[in-house]
C-alpha cells in the first residue's frame, strides 16, 4: 500500500511557470502523427503525444492510473466531446490530455507536463 502511494506521487503535474528544466527528448520525427511514444527522463516514464490534427503536443505520465502499468503512450488519441483525450490500451479508460482528468469514470487524474518544440526537437518541462 505504502509503496503504491509512493509510486503515484512520482508523477505530479507541472505547470509551465513551474518549469526549471526543459528536457530535450527526441526529434519530432520520432513520434507518429496523431499518436504517442514514451520518453525516459531520470526514473520517469513520460507519454508524449503528437496531436497533428490540432497542431499540438501533449505530455502525461505513461503510468495507467487504473492498473499502474506503463502503457498510456501506446493508447489511441482523439477527442471526447471536443476535449483532446487518450484512451488507455488496457481497458479503454479515457483521459483528458489537457488536464489529465478521467473522462469516462472517476479514476485519479494523470499528471501532465508542458511541451515545447525547439529546432525540431521535443522538449518536456519538469520542475526538477
Amino acid at each position: 500500500m505504502l509503496e503504491m502511494i509512493a509510486t503515484t506521487k512520482k508523477y505530479e503535474t507541472v505547470k509551465t511557470e513551474e518549469v526549471t528544466v526543459w528536457f530535450k527528448a527526441a526529434s519530432v520525427n520520432d513520434f507518429p502523427k496523431d499518436g504517442g511514444a514514451c520518453v525516459k527522463y531520470k526514473d520517469l516514464q513520460i507519454a508524449v503525444f503528437n496531436f497533428t490534427r490540432l497542431n499540438k503536443w501533449y505530455a502525461t505520465q505513461n503510468l495507467s492510473p487504473e492498473k499502474q502499468e506503463m502503457v498510456l503512450s501506446r493508447g489511441m488519441i482523439g477527442d471526447h466531446k471536443g476535449i483532446p483525450m487518450v484512451a488507455c490500451p488496457l481497458h479503454k479508460r479515457i483521459f483528458s490530455l489537457e488536464d489529465g482528468s478521467n473522462l469516462n469514470g472517476d479514476l485519479e487524474p494523470m499528471a501532465t507536463y508542458p511541451v515545447k518544440i525547439i529546432d525540431g526537437f521535443v522538449h518536456i518541462g519538469f520542475a526538477h
Binding site: M4, A25, A26, D30, F31, P32, K33, D34, G35, A37, C38, V39, K40, D43, Q45, V48, F51, R53, L54, L63, K67, Q68, E69, M70, V71, R74, G75, M76, I77, G78, D79, H80, K81, G82, P84, M85, A87, P89, L90, K92, I94
Partner: protein, 838 residues
C-alpha cells in the same frame, strides 16, 4: 392456507404458475403442480428448434429452481389418475393421494392418431414432446446408415404438419406430405392461396399428396409404405402423424364432469367446469364449443383462472377470441387473420396473386369498404402485424383498400405510423401486451432499448411473431421522447459502419484524415471510429495494419496481443493445426531463448507470452526464419480453422478435413472483418472439430460438405445454422467468399457473424437468397472483392521486420534503448507470470 393443485405442467399450466406468483393475493394459497413429463414445462411452440439445438434446457419456460424460489411444489414424472370430487382429492400414478381446495386441469391435448391399420408399426411417430423428437432423430439416423435416400411422410397438411415436413427435410430425409383434404392448411387458407403455397413448398423439395385417405400402413414390423387405394401406394421409411389434436379430458370422465362430443372439458367464460372448485384451461378446455389450439388464448385462460380463484369474480374471457396465425420455420411466409374465407354476403375480397413469385395476398373488407375483416398472406407476410392490428382495432383503412396489399413502387407503405395505433391495441397476443404498456415502460424510464422492453413487458417472448412490431413501436416511442436511436459508430460520424464502407469504397479514401475531414462532424476521432476506419481500409484496400498504425486498435498497432502488464503475446499461424515436429521444436527454442511463458490456445495454436515491445521484432525474425508467419491472433480477422484429423487418419472420416481446413485458413488469413472470425472443419458428423461453434463450419457428409454459418462460443454461445448441404469444395469456397464479404460489408463494428445473422432482416433465409440464389445480383462483386483481398495478402510481420521505418515503433522509449523498468515477473509452475494487480 388453501391448496391449489394444477394438473399438467405444459405451456398453459406454467403460465398459470407465473400469473399466480405475480398476483398480490397469492400468499394465502399453496400451489402444487403435477406434470407427467420428466421435465418442467417447455416451449412447445418452438419444439422444432430442438432438431437443430438438441438442447432441452434452452426450451424450458423456467428452470426447476424457479418453482422452488417461488414456493411452488413441482412434481414431475407423476401422472394424476383420478379425481374424487366428494372428498376433493386426487390420486396419482405413484399411488399417492392429495387433497385440494381448487383443482386446475391443464392437461393439454395429445396428437390424434387415426385408427388406420398398422399405425402401431415401428417408425410411426407423433409430434408433440421432446421425447417424440428424440425418437425421430434416433430412428432417422439409423435409417440413413442403411439407406442414404430414405423417405419420410407426414400425415396431415395443416399448420403443424408443414412444420413437421420442414423437420423431415432438415433431418435429411426425402419429405412427403399426405393430406386428406384437397388443399393444404385447409383451416386457414382458401384454395388459391393453398395452391400458391403448394407450388412454393414443391420448389423447396417437399412432395405433396392431396385428397389421400390412408387405408393401411404397410410393412413387416417397421413401416415400409402407405396404402391409399388399391394401386395407390407411397413407399416411405418413416411417418409422422399430424392429423389434429384430441383434448386430454380423461380425468373429467373419471369424475363425471361434462365433456364435449368431440372431447374437451366444458367450461364457462370464467374457465370453471360444472364443479365450481375445478377449472380447466388451455387445450383441454372446451369454451364456446371450441378447442383453441393456440398458446395465446391458453395464456388468457390461465390469467382468468388465477384471478377467479384469487377472488376477482368479475374477470372472464372475451367473447371474441383471436385465432390469427402465422406459420413459422418453413422458409415461406404464411399467415391468416380474422375471417380468412368470407361469404360474399358479408363483404368483398381483394386478391393479389403472382405465381411467379409464389405470392398471394387476400383481404376481406366490409361492404362499405371501411373495415378490414380478415385476410390471407402467402409468400410475403411482412405486413401481417400491421394488417392484424388494423383488423383487431377496427382502424380506418385507405379509401382504396387494395393499397394495403399491392406492391408499392416506392417502398412506401399504405399504413400510417405504428404510433397511430390506439394504446389498447394488443401488440403481443401471447403475453397480452398492449402498445400502451410498451410506450409506458419507455416513458417512465424503465426501458431504454428493445432488450429492456422485452424483459420488462415479456412482449415477443411467446411465438415471437410480434417482434418486428415491438421493435418498431420501441423505436418510434424512443424517438418521440427525443432519444435518438442512431447506430452511428461514435460522436465523430453520423454514419454507421455500412455507410462508411460504401463511402470509402466509392471515394477511394486511403487515410483516416481524409474520411474524417470529408465526412466527420468536425472532431478528431477517437478509440471507437479510428479502428473501424482502419478495419474498413483493410477490408477494402487490403491495407495491413502497418500502414497507418496510429489509428489501429491497441493490439493491431503492435501486431501482438497486449497482456495485463503491458507486455505482449505472440501467436504464429499454424494452418489447420498441422505442424511438423521441426517447427514445433523451433517454437520451443524461440520461447526458451526469450524466456516466454508458453501455452496452447483455445484455437489449438501455441501462444508465447511476456514479450516486450523491443523483443517483438526479434522474436518474429526468428519465427520467420523458421517459416512461420503472423497468426493474426491480435486482429479482428480470421483466427484459426480448427480441424479434426479427418479421413487421412480417422477411421470414420468421410473427407480430408485437414487439407480443406488448411486451404481455407490460408485463403482467408489476414483479412480484416468487423470482428474475429473462426472456422472449423470436421471429417464426419461426430464433429470432433466443433465446427458448429464457429463462424463458419464444415462437416463432411455423404456426397460433400454441409456448410454451417454464424456460430460462436464466447459470452453468448450459439450454434451455427445449416446453410447448404452436400456441396463440393469449390462451392464451399464460393459461398464462403460471398458470405464473409457480405458480413464484412454490412455488419456493425465488433459484431460477430452470429449476432449479425440473427439481426439480419429475413434471417438465414434471406442470406441464402442473397448468397446462394444471388437475389441482389451482387454475388460476382462479392467474389471478386474477396479474391482481390486473397491475392493481396502479405504477412504484416514480414513486412514490418524488413522496414526500418516500421520497426521504429517497437521500442519502449523513443530516447533510450532501455526496457520498461516497471515490469515485474514472478515464477509460476516452472514458468513465469506478471506480478498480480494490486
Amino acid at each position: 392456507m388453501k391448496t391449489i393443485i394444477v394438473v399438467g405442467n405444459g405451456m398453459v399450466g406454467y403460465k398459470f404458475c407465473e400469473k399466480f406468483v405475480a398476483h398480490e393475493k397469492s400468499e394465502n394459497f399453496k400451489l402444487v403442480v403435477f406434470g407427467e413429463e420428466p421435465r418442467p414445462a417447455y416451449d412447445r411452440v418452438h419444439l422444432s428448434e430442438y432438431f437443430e439445438s438438441q438442447d432441452a434446457k434452452a426450451l424450458e419456460m423456467a428452470p426447476k429452481e424457479w418453482y422452488l424460489e417461488n414456493q411452488i411444489e413441482l412434481v414431475t414424472s407423476e401422472r394424476v389418475l383420478d379425481i374424487n370430487r366428494d372428498s376433493k382429492t386426487i390420486s396419482t400414478s405413484k399411488d399417492r393421494i392429495f387433497s385440494y381446495d381448487y383443482l386446475v386441469l391443464a392437461t393439454g391435448s395429445s396428437p390424434f392418431v387415426p385408427p388406420i391399420k398398422g399405425v402401431e408399426k415401428k417408425g410411426v411417430f407423433v409430434y408433440r414432446t421432446i421425447e417424440d423428437l428424440e425418437g425421430m432423430l434416433a430412428y432417422a439416423a439409423d435409417l440413413k446408415k442403411t439407406k442414404p435416400n430414405a423417405k419420410a411422410a407426414v400425415l396431415g397438411g395443416g399448420l403443424l404438419g408443414l412444420e413437421a415436413g420442414k423437420a423431415v427435410l432438415d433431418m435429411g430425409l426425402e419429405p412427403h406430405i399426405v393430406e386428406f383434404a384437397p388443399k393444404l392448411m385447409p383451416r386457414q387458407l382458401d384454395s388459391r392461396s393453398s395452391n400458391v403455397l403448394q407450388l412454393k413448398l414443391e420448389s423447396i423439395g417437399l412432395n405433396i399428396h392431396l385428397s389421400k385417405a390412408t387405408n393401411q400402413i404397410l410393412g413387416n414390423g417397421s413401416i415400409e409404405g402407405m396404402e391409399f387405394g388399391e394401386d395407390d401406394l407411397l413407399y416411405v421409411d418413416m411417418l409422422i402423424i399430424s392429423a389434429g389434436i384430441r383434448p386430454r379430458d380423461e380425468l373429467a370422465k373419471t369424475c363425471g364432469l361434462e365433456v364435449g362430443v368431440r372431447g374437451g372439458i366444458v367450461v364457462n367464460n370464467k374457465m370453471q367446469t360444472a364443479d365450481e372448485h375445478i377449472y380447466a384451461i388451455g387445450e383441454v378446455a372446451l369454451l364456446n364449443q371450441m378447442i383453441y389450439g393456440l398458446v395465446a388464448p391458453g395464456y388468457d385462460m390461465a390469467d382468468v383462472a388465477v384471478k377467479q380463484i384469487l377472488g376477482e369474480a368479475e374477470s372472464d374471457m372475451p367473447t371474441d377470441i383471436d385465432m390469427s396465425t402465422k406459420l413459422k420455420l418453413i422458409g415461406i411466409d404464411v399467415a391468416s387473420f380474422g375471417e380468412p374465407f368470407m361469404p360474399a354476403s358479408k363483404g368483398h375480397s381483394i386478391i393479389y396473386e403472382d405465381k411467379t413469385k409464389f405470392l398471394y395476398k387476400r383481404i376481406n373488407v366490409s361492404h362499405d369498404r371501411k373495415k378490414l375483416l380478415g385476410g390471407i398472406l402467402v409468400g410475403d407476410a411482412s405486413d401481417y402485424n400491421m394488417l392484424h392490428q388494423v383488423y383487431m382495432n377496427g382502424m380506418p383503412i385507405p379509401e382504396e383498400p387494395a393499397q394495403l396489399i399491392l406492391p408499392s413502387s416506392d417502398g412506401a407503405t399504405a399504413f400510417g405510423n405504428v404510433m397511430d395505433l390506439p394504446d389498447e391495441a394488443q401488440v403481443c397476443s401471447c403475453e397480452s401486451v398492449t402498445k400502451g404498456q410498451i410506450c409506458g415502460v419507455i416513458e417512465n424510464g424503465e426501458a431504454k432499448d428493445l432488450a429492456d422492453v422485452v424483459s420488462c413487458t415479456k412482449a415477443g417472448t411467446g411465438c415471437g411473431g410480434c417482434k418486428p412490431m415491438v421493435k418498431d413501436i420501441t423505436e418510434a416511442s424512443l424517438k418521440s421522447l427525443g432519444i435518438e436511436v442512431k447506430d452511428s459508430i461514435c460522436e465523430h460520424f453520423d454514419y454507421n459502419r455500412q455507410d462508411l464502407y460504401k463511402i470509402i469504397q466509392v471515394k477511394g479514401y486511403t487515410t483516416f484524415n481524409e474520411v474524417l475531414d470529408n465526412h466527420g462532424n468536425g472532431g478528431h476521432g477517437c478509440e471507437l471510429c479510428k479502428p473501424v476506419v482502419a478495419s474498413l481500409m483493410a477490408s477494402i484496400h487490403a491495407d495491413t495494419a502497418n500502414k497507418e498504425y496510429a489509428i489501429q486498435d491497441s493490439n493491431d498497432r503492435f501486431l501482438a496481443n497486449i497482456q495485463r502488464n503491458g507486455t505482449y503475446s505472440v501467436v504464429p499461424r499454424v494452418p489447420g493445426g498441422e505442424i511438423t515436429p521441426d517447427k514445433l521444436i523451433a517454437l520451443g527454442e524461440i520461447a526458451k531463448k526469450y524466456d516466454l511463458y508458453t501455452k496452447i490456445t483455445g484455437g489449438v495454436r501455441v501462444d508465447l507470452f511476456g514479450a516486450t515491445l523491443k523483443q517483438l521484432p526479434l522474436i518474429w525474425k526468428d519465427l520467420i526464419a523458421h517459416g512461420f508467419e503472423s497468426g493474426h491472433a491480435y486482429g479482428k480477422s480470421l483466427r484459426t480453422v480448427k480441424t479434426c484429423v479427418g479421413s487421412t487418419w480417422c477411421r470414420y472420416g468421410m473427407d480430408e478435413s485437414v487439407s480443406f481446413g488448411i486451404e481455407l485458413e490460408n485463403r482467408y488469413r489476414g483479412i480484416r472483418a468487423p470482428h474475429k472470425i473462426k472456422g472449423g472443419v470436421s471429417g464426419c458428423i461426430r464433429e470432433c472439430a466443433e465446427a458448429r461453434g464457429k463462424d463458419f463450419g464444415l462437416i463432411a457428409v455423404e456426397g460433400g460438405w454441409n456448410l454451417y454459418v454464424g456460430g460462436n462460443g464466447g459470452a453468448n454461445p450459439r450454434h451455427a445454422e445449416l446453410f447448404a448441404e452436400q456441396i463440393d469444395n469449390e462451392t464451399v469456397i464460393k459461398y464462403l467468399d460471398r458470405y464473409l464479404m457480405l458480413y464484412m460489408r454490412t455488419a456493425k463494428p465488433l459484431q460477430r457473424t452470429a449476432a449479425w445473422q440473427e439481426r439480419l432482416e429475413g434471417g438465414i433465409d434471406y442470406l441464402k437468397e442473397v448468397v446462394i440464389d444471388d437475389k441482389l445480383g451482387i454475388a460476382k462483386d462479392l467474389e471478386e472483392e474477396m479474391q482481390t483481398l486473397v491475392n493481396k495478402f502479405e504477412c504484416e510481420w514480414t513486412q514490418a521486420v524488413n522496414d526500418p521505418e516500421m520497426m521504429k515503433r517497437f521500442n519502449h522509449f523513443v530516447n533510450s534503448k532501455e526496457e520498461d523498468d516497471n515490469l515485474v515477473f514472478v515464477p509460476m509452475r516452472e514458468q513465469k507470470m506478471p506480478e498480480p494487480w494490486k
